[in-house]
């Protein structure tokens, strides 16, 4: 693990262009065994392209890839695996209907051209890896029933079965709670002791600094700097990533004392998820709902939107008692919901930005008596939201698939703003969104609240809650355990209450 040790992976002067757009302009990176290297940068800076090149999915226009002293001028995905490179993508690429043990062993069996799968051989191999890493993982459980953190562990174990020397992890911490992140980092330390070189791709700066020894920052496809993590802090990394200072300070406008209630929740209960949840959201207010994963925060949001109807309790929107038994009921009551899983629940990836924006408000644009859609008014709505939310795309007919996380999230937001909701619920509004885009999205939420909507943010990103929320409710084991207001909303208090 000495400093002088030869790098296990060296890429130099990588250039890659897509149809005239330069994605990478001469990027170099070197990875030493037994170290953690962080690749940071905003979405669209070229991080993903670089990983794809290292793992052989994309071919660079020019540049060198050297793995353990061997130059690969034509890296292929299987060549990369043979060279000991494993990538764990955000979706983990696991088979949900197979058990954890099967997932860990199966791809290796296939790669070894074994015709028959042997349960007897699989189990011990998986158990050995789990034991070596000193982790707890239910190997017999179907992967689709595992938590996000356990799915990730499964993916890590699978990579190790393949004798990974270089493990690349794409945004490994975004879907994890603080405790889970710490558990992941413990595993990461185990891995470095085994001599594995890790490349973390992330934009969660504070976490990255805890575990990485070296940080490389990209901006717009160019290499900005590589430096020891000890010489950097969150603010300086943010500055290198965006090219300007990022404001994450608390900016909350005082609510008028007579602000009326737009959403009132009384004694909402769903056995097994949460009970006796009561709160009031006022017009113009941003209310935060936080808690660890599994605390019931997401379930409360999903109940309010009718995905997971509550068993008992009352919901009042704008003074009207509502029975919310389905998503239709919630939308009819004036509730909009930006879901946690943007890619599958929020967006139609192959449809255009325009089609996505209009998806929830189609019925409002029916002309009488023909019932045909009023295309002029639709175009006006789309154009105005496209501009107002500053969605960065060539035009509104670009497919959503081509957008970065931050811009895709703006499209989901635009879809709901087009319905002019009274209450806007956002579950993890900035998950997978880069820092620059994040502060802009938070600013949009402040603006929407100021326009008279009630905004409910469900999140475990505490700095974000502190930055925008008038009040924060902390959920623990399905119950509201604390309400923080005004100056009481601060990082330390929230984190302490969440984990207590």
């Amino acid at each position: 693990m000495s400093e002088s040790e030869a790098p296990v992976l060296e890429v130099s002067d990588i250039v890659k262009t897509f149809g005239g757009v330069r994605a990478l302009a001469g990027v170099s990176l070197s990875l030493k065994p037994g170290t953690v290297h962080c690749l940071a940068g905003e979405n669209g800076c070229g991080k993903s392209t670089l990983i794809k090149i290292i793992s052989g999915v994309e071919r660079p226009d020019s540049g060198r890839i050297v793995v353990a002293g061997t130059e690969h001028d034509r890296m292929t995905p299987s060549g990369a695996m043979d060279a000991g490179i494993q990538v764990i993508y955000q979706d983990f690429s696991l088979f949900g209907n197979l058990t954890a043990a099967e997932n860990i062993v199966l791809t290796g069996e296939v790669a070894a051209h074994r015709a028959l799968y042997s349960r007897r051989r699989a189990r011990p191999a998986a158990e050995r890896i789990v034991r070596e890493l000193g982790i707890k993982l239910d190997l017999e459980e179907d992967v689709e029933r595992l938590s996000v953190a356990d799915k990730q562990l499964t993916a890590i174990c699978r990579a190790l079965v393949h004798d990974a020397r270089i493990l690349i992890m794409d945004e490994p911490t975004t879907a994890l709670t603080r405790t889970e992140v710490q558990r992941l980092f413990a595993v990461v330390r185990q891995l470095t002791e085994r001599g594995v070189a890790l490349l973390f791709v992330s934009h969660k700066l504070d976490e990255v600094l805890q575990v990485a020894q070296t940080v490389t920052i990209l901006r717009n496809g160019s290499h900005v700097l590589t430096a020891p993590a000890a010489e950097l802090d969150g603010a300086s990394i943010g500055r290198y990533m965006t090219g300007h200072d990022i404001d994450e300070s608390r900016q909350v406008v005082r609510l008028p004392a007579d602000a009326s209630a737009v959403l009132e929740v009384r004694d909402l209960t769903l056995p097994g998820a949460y009970r006796d949840v009561s709160f009031t959201l006022h017009r113009g207010e941003i209310l935060g709902l936080t808690g660890l994963l599994g605390s019931g925060r997401s379930e409360i949001a999903e109940s309010l939107f009718g995905v997971l109807p509550a068993r008992s309790g009352t919901i009042t929107v704008d003074g009207q008692d509502c029975t919310i038994r389905s998503i239709d009921d919630a939308v009819a009551a004036g509730i909009g919901y930006v879901p946690e899983d943007r890619l599958t629940q929020g967006l139609f990836m192959d449809a255009s930005i325009a089609d996505n924006i209009i998806a929830s408000s189609l019925d409002a644009y029916r002309r009488r008596p023909s019932r045909l859609l009023d295309r002029r008014r639709i175009a006006e709505t789309i154009t105005s939201l496209f501009g107002r939310l500053r969605i960065k795309a060539p035009n509104v007919s670009s497919p959503v698939r081509s957008l970065s996380g931050g811009n895709a999230q703006r499209v989901v937001l635009a879809k709901w703003l087009a319905t002019k909701p009274k209450v806007l619920i956002l579950n993890g509004p900035t998950v997978g969104v880069d820092v620059g885009s994040k502060s802009e999205i938070l600013q949009i939420l402040r603006q929407e609240a100021a326009d008279g909507r009630g905004v409910l943010i469900v999140s475990d990103d505490v700095p974000e809650l502190v930055a925008v929320c008038h009040r924060v409710l902390v959920i623990r084991q399905g119950q509201v355990v604390q309400e923080l207001e005004g100056d009481g909303v601060d990082l330390e208090t929230i984190q302490r209450t969440m984990a207590a």
């Binding site: 149809g19 967006l347 325009a354 045909l372 002029r376 639709i378 154009t383 509104v396």
Partner: protein, 360 residues
């Protein structure tokens, strides 16, 4: 300064409005499926016209094509609609036959008043088709049965009913309203063909210009996101299958208009054929994308090839082989296009040896 700014933003709004308008109206020009089918239609036509100009270019042959294509075209449009939601409707041909049988039976039963009551019988025939579609719709949207299984079951039921009802015999006779239409032409163009164009235009408007049409596309593109967007899958799917039922009924009317007979086993090969046509026309079998124009052109292509084989006196079995080959060639070209796009290179510039070899 502000005036300039205003002008700039106005220009931007204008440009965006244009953009939206173009994307809504002009999908058809930019669509690969449509362009490809247009080429295929022309190539197929030119080929047979060159091989057998005397027979192939005769008015009789051209009118034959124009009379035979509509029933398949309407069925394929119905199939396209079901596939647009990510589903499939195997029962449409059975529904069409049921409609034809209903109309023919009522006509024969009414005796001398049959022609006068024709419009009523047609209406009853369409109601039968709507009920068929409604059953499919309820099974898929309320009960939640996978479309392929639900419509497989109803196909068996509708077919069975038709056989029991007719005793397996072919029924003769149809109201003069229909047979008259079947033989009529307007400016040399058979009315049946005009009916196909009207149906195509109607469904085109449904898909592109109504809320239901947009919901059908979104439902097929991503059912989960559709649910989370407040689009009721129940209503959308119910609407879709009622519509495919209705189109099946219209196809049944075309059957009997072209040829005043009805039987339980008419068009037995159509069920699979219309799936082929829908896919050829650029319909994504996984849902979310389709164009009516593409499907109509695909129906025409197959009809042109079929009548070409007739003109060349090649056997229907050879025609079946040709059908399969056309489907494979189109699918291969799809794959090649997809891979090129994935590699991020423009399709016009193939990249050396990495281009997948075209199977010979």
């Amino acid at each position: 300064m502000t005036a300039q700014k205003e002008q700039g933003s106005l220009r931007r709004v204008n440009a965006s409005v244009d953009e939206v308008a173009r994307s809504l109206v002009g999908r058809f020009q930019t669509n690969r499926g449509v362009r490809r089918m247009l080429v295929l239609v022309v190539v197929a036509f030119a080929l047979f016209a060159a091989l057998r100009p005397g027979v192939y270019l005769s008015t009789l042959n051209l009118q034959n094509i124009a009379v035979a294509a509509p029933e398949i075209g309407v069925l394929a449009i119905a199939q396209m609609l079901a596939m647009l939601t990510g589903g499939i409707d195997l029962s449409i041909v059975a529904v069409a036959n049921l409609t034809a049988i209903t109309i023919s039976t009522l006509y024969t039963a009414a005796g001398s008043r049959g022609d006068a009551l024709g419009p009523v019988f047609i209406l009853i025939g369409l109601v039968v088709a709507l009920v068929g579609g409604l059953v499919n719709g309820l099974l898929v949207s309320r009960v939640g049965i996978t479309p392929i299984l639900a419509t497989l079951a109803t196909m068996q039921i509708f077919n069975g009913l038709a056989v029991v009802w007719t005793g397996g015999r072919t029924l003769y006779g149809a109201p003069r309203v229909l047979t008259g239409v079947g033989n009529a032409t307007v400016g040399g163009i058979p009315v049946l063909f005009i009916a196909l164009l009207l149906v195509a235009a109607g469904i085109g408007i449904l898909i592109n210009r109504t809320a239901l049409g947009h919901k059908i596309q979104l439902q097929g593109a991503n059912p989960t996101a559709a649910a989370y967007s407040g689009i009721s899958s129940r209503r959308t799917l119910l609407g879709t299958y009622v519509m495919t039922g209705l189109l099946g009924g219209i196809a049944g009317m075309l059957f009997i208009a072209r040829n005043p007979t009805a039987s339980a086993d008419y068009g037995a090969s159509y069920t699979l054929l219309v799936i082929v046509i829908a896919v050829l026309g650029g319909t994504n079998p996984n849902g979310g994308f389709a164009t009516v124009t593409g499907v109509v052109l695909a129906a025409l292509t197959l009809q042109i090839v079929s009548s070409g084989f007739n003109a060349m006196r090649w056997s229907p079995y050879q025609y079946a082989v040709a059908q399969g080959l056309i489907l494979i060639v189109v699918m291969v070209s799809d794959q090649v296009h997809l891979r090129r796009r994935r590699r991020g290179t423009p399709p016009a510039l193939p990249v050396g040896p990495a281009t997948p070899p075209t199977p010979v």
